[in-house]
């Protein structure tokens, strides 16, 4: 018994240190966004000055608006396609080209972004597509639908399939059984998938840099070019706003999954 308790003290310490390591930098960033001083490292009292500066920075606001539009549209298309892919993979049994299909879905999850970005750009150039909102949206959809597919597929895999079978025994056709039985049960995973796709798109720098055109920079592209020149308090303020937005998204996601988990089903992780 004593050995176990000594072990768990080590466990608690490593866990606490690990979490501190994960959270402290972000916390510091947020605190310093309220710093009145121009010097990022000198504390000059609390102030909203840098938020004011951001809201007067037209280029930044435009980039933020572009990012939000891209994130919302690509997340929506990706959720649709990713859910379809997950259904095909987990309920479609065997079909021709299944190996290629699942391969194409899992590869982008770890594929270095420089490769994905470069290859999509070459495609867009070859197609003579005008680069901007739509090319970035398509690129982000391609990346994020794979994440949606994985999240939804793991949920579908843990579902009791006898429910669908029961619905069909009671006279539903497969499509109706899916809409009436399966869809409500996987809804939390679909919501989580949309949120994940949204934040991934909002976050992406590399793929967006390759696929966007002149004059339509996304927020990460703008932030990146500013950060290369050094630390600016305004960037802290923008980052804090983005973190706040993502926090709201996460809270909504977890509320949504809690709402549907009150039907006796636990929510999918991630």
């Amino acid at each position: 018994m004593r050995k176990i308790s000594r072990l768990s003290r080590f466990n608690v310490a490593s866990l606490a240190l690990g979490l501190a390591f994960l959270y402290l930098p972000i916390l510091i960033l947020v605190i310093y966004s309220f710093n009145a001083s121009r010097l990022v490292t000198v504390w000059g009292g609390w102030s909203l000055r840098w938020y004011h500066e951001f809201f007067n920075d037209r280029a930044m606001i435009e980039a933020a608006w572009m990012s939000l539009r891209v994130a919302a549209s690509s997340a929506t298309i990706a959720t649709l396609l990713g859910t379809l892919a997950a259904v095909a993979l987990s309920r479609g049994e065997r079909f021709r080209g299944r190996t290629l299909f699942s391969g194409m879905l899992y590869a982008p999850l770890v594929m270095p972004e420089v490769i994905t970005g470069l290859s999509l750009l070459l495609l867009f150039v070859a197609l003579n597509a005008e680069r901007g909102f739509w090319t970035v949206t398509i690129a982000h959809t391609t990346l994020t639908m794979c994440f949606v597919a994985v999240v939804v597929q793991s949920r579908l895999g843990s579902l009791d399939r006898s429910l669908e079978e029961a619905a069909m025994d009671l006279g539903c056709n497969p499509v109706r059984a899916f809409v009436a039985v399966t869809l409500p049960l996987i809804a939390p995973a679909i919501v989580a998938g949309w949120m994940l796709a949204f934040t991934l798109s909002l976050d992406d720098l590399v793929i967006a840099s390759f696929t966007t055109g002149p004059g339509s920079a996304t927020l990460p592209i703008r932030i990146y070019s500013e950060v290369r020149l050094g630390v600016k308090p305004e960037i802290n303020a923008i980052c804090t706003l983005v973190i706040g937005l993502i926090a709201v998204v996460i809270v909504i996601a977890s509320l949504a999954s809690k709402l549907s988990s009150s039907q006796g089903e636990s929510a999918a992780p991630l």
Binding site: S8, N11, S14, L15, G18, L19, L22, P25, I26, I28, L29, T41, G82, L84, A85, A88, L89, S90, G92, E93, F95, F101, M104, L105, Y106, A107, L109, V110, M111, P112, E113, V114, L118, S119, L120, L122, T142, M145, S154, G157, R161, E164, M168, V175, T199, L202, L205, V206, S209, P220, I223, V227, R228, V231, I235, C239, V242, I243, P269, L270
Partner: protein, 304 residues
Amino acid sequence: MSGRRIFARPARFAAIAPYLWMVLFFLVPFAFVLKISLSQTAIAQPPYEPVFDLTAGWEALKAAFGALSLDNFRLLGSDDIYVFAYVRSLTVAVTATALLLVIGYPIAYGMARLPRRWQAVAMVLVIVPFWTSFLIRIYAWINILQHDGLLNQTLLALHLVSQPVVWLSTDTAMYIGIVYSYLPFMILPLYATLAKMEPVLEEAASDLGAPPWQVFWLVTFPLSLPGVGAGVLLCFIPIVGEFVIPDLLAGSNALMIGQTLWLEFFTNKDWPVASAAAIVLLVVLLVPLLLYERLQKRQLEQGR
């Protein structure tokens, strides 16, 4: 059981739209990368000589195949910059992945041994930073590591150093950034296998007289190998092609391959060489990518 088969048919139709999408926007683009990696640089827009022109007929196609050249690949093999970049990418990825494993394992183990209730909370706490922007997390570290940043201020106040240490533009800063960004990817698969493991096995080993380190090496670690494999691949593959972290945190005297690709593309506007660099990177990553896919597939299809 026939219910399953009836359900499977429309489910297969669901594959059509995502299938076409992935072929068009994931598979086909690689053909373009390959094609352009074999063509010549040109001062034009787009900056390469088109190789295939299907409208020009068979003779032109034959001429085009004759014009294909491996020059770009030869350049990659002979120019020290590229060879160094590949070697550096692999060493950085191996070192960083090892660091991640050593740091992530105790955290994952700590999570897996918490009471059930707290495990869910700890998991959310590990995942949440993963949701905040990647670029923001790197920027947060620039804040801390800069010349008069918090780290130097703390070290000076504690009299641990007599003058500010240079942190930014060093490999140390880069490793901190990589470990920080990829830690959740290492912890989660490790935690998933460790949580499934029966603590009884460890207790049995220790009842039979094994000291704690032996319990760990002979029981815990071997049983967690699937999680170790998943975590290692999940970190190693993207780190090899990493661009943002080395670009913002490491010095500019030694580049990783993602950076050289970016430079060739955006600064030198040499698309054929950038494409060739991408192809070589892909070949380097082929084995770990295939391993990862098999793991992923096995994991997702276990629940069926």
